[in-house]
Subunit: 208 residues, 2 copies
């Protein structure tokens, strides 16, 4: 990318990650850890293969990613630091997630939404396990424990709540944009004690 030529931190940041597709590549690496070329291509529907190769080269020479064993790509420690701006952007764009339309979806992106909303520790958070089954993806378990929320792969052993349905419905409910009733009307099935979901307590602005 052409540099903005401005002695300003934001402009310098955009010199590195401002190109088209670049930040989405970092998103995939944040979500999934070290990835192979084909994993990235699959997690970035719509990218042209030459652009992916170009961006990976640029990111590596900028020091954001590095090549690991077996040709895997991974973020450097500095690259991991893009965590904060990326999730901040995701939270900002929450209102744009109302309609899915015909946009592509990958189940791993649900993890992104959960991190954006429940990141950090909240002592008042209730312990619980929510099984999440989004159409077209493998099941995952949202685990709230010791004040923190995680999303792990695989079905839950004994979930308190089970959520299943289309991506936009499940995402709207987990993202706090849809009430349980509204989510149901979008095709989401809620099993178990739905009222417990309120105990997840989304972040208010406190990280760490």
């Amino acid at each position: 990318m052409r540099s903005y030529g401005q002695y300003c931190a934001l402009a310098k940041a955009l010199d590195v990650i401002g190109d088209r597709w670049t930040l989405l590549i970092v998103r995939e690496l944040l979500l999934r850890g070290a990835c192979r070329y084909t994993d990235l291509k699959n997690g970035l529907p719509g990218i042209a293969t030459n652009l992916l190769a170009d961006r990976l080269r640029d990111l590596e020479s900028a020091g954001v990613i590095e090549r690991r064993d077996e040709g895997r790509y991974a973020l450097t420690p500095w690259g991991e630091g893009l965590h904060e701006p990326i999730y901040a952007l995701g939270r900002w764009a929450g209102p744009l997630m109302q309609e899915r339309g015909d946009a592509a979806f990958r189940p791993q992106w649900l993890r992104h939404m959960v991190i954006a909303r429940f990141e950090g520790s909240d002592p008042q958070r209730r312990d619980m396990v929510v099984e999440v089954r989004v159409e077209g993806g493998e099941p995952a378990a949202l685990v709230s424990s010791a004040g923190r929320v995680h999303l792990v792969r695989g079905a839950a052993a004994s979930p308190d709540v089970v959520l299943s349905g289309p991506p936009d419905g499940v995402a709207g409910l987990l993202g706090g944009r849809l009430s349980i009733a509204a989510a149901k009307s979008r095709g989401v099935k809620v099993g178990g004690d739905a009222a417990r979901l309120a105990g997840l307590r989304p972040r208010t602005g406190l990280p760490a």
Copy 2:
């Protein structure tokens, strides 16, 4: 901009602010409040006039900015929400600010750097006034009071410390990348009790 067509909050955010120059326009509006077209053009050295007009149209139709009285452009409440991701990106890019080279500089960007590093309240922060005189700009006063740091226009009445010199030296010192000695070797003059600067206490990760 062409949409990524992905049902992911980050991709949706980039659909809106991912175009070249767009986030820098928002930076100027965050720093200076409502701006006229010419103010923006001046704060964005290197932008082509047609691109500025295009971006302003796009941002308005997306709901990020709105036109006020006398043709001024201002952020909407949603647009103001870009504060967090923008300053997070600025903090991430701190290491890239080592060398100024021949990059353009505007004195108002110093404010951006101060916000990125000292944003939020810290009860252990010491009260003080630091006058900042960067070459080519009008003087400003960095005021630490009641745990918060602000940068206001104009010379200080009775500053505890006076900083003056070239942009990269002053920015390096305020940004924590240069020691006082290193900043002096880059042409920064430090008047008053330089040791007091340590009492500013940069943010550790706690907002609000």
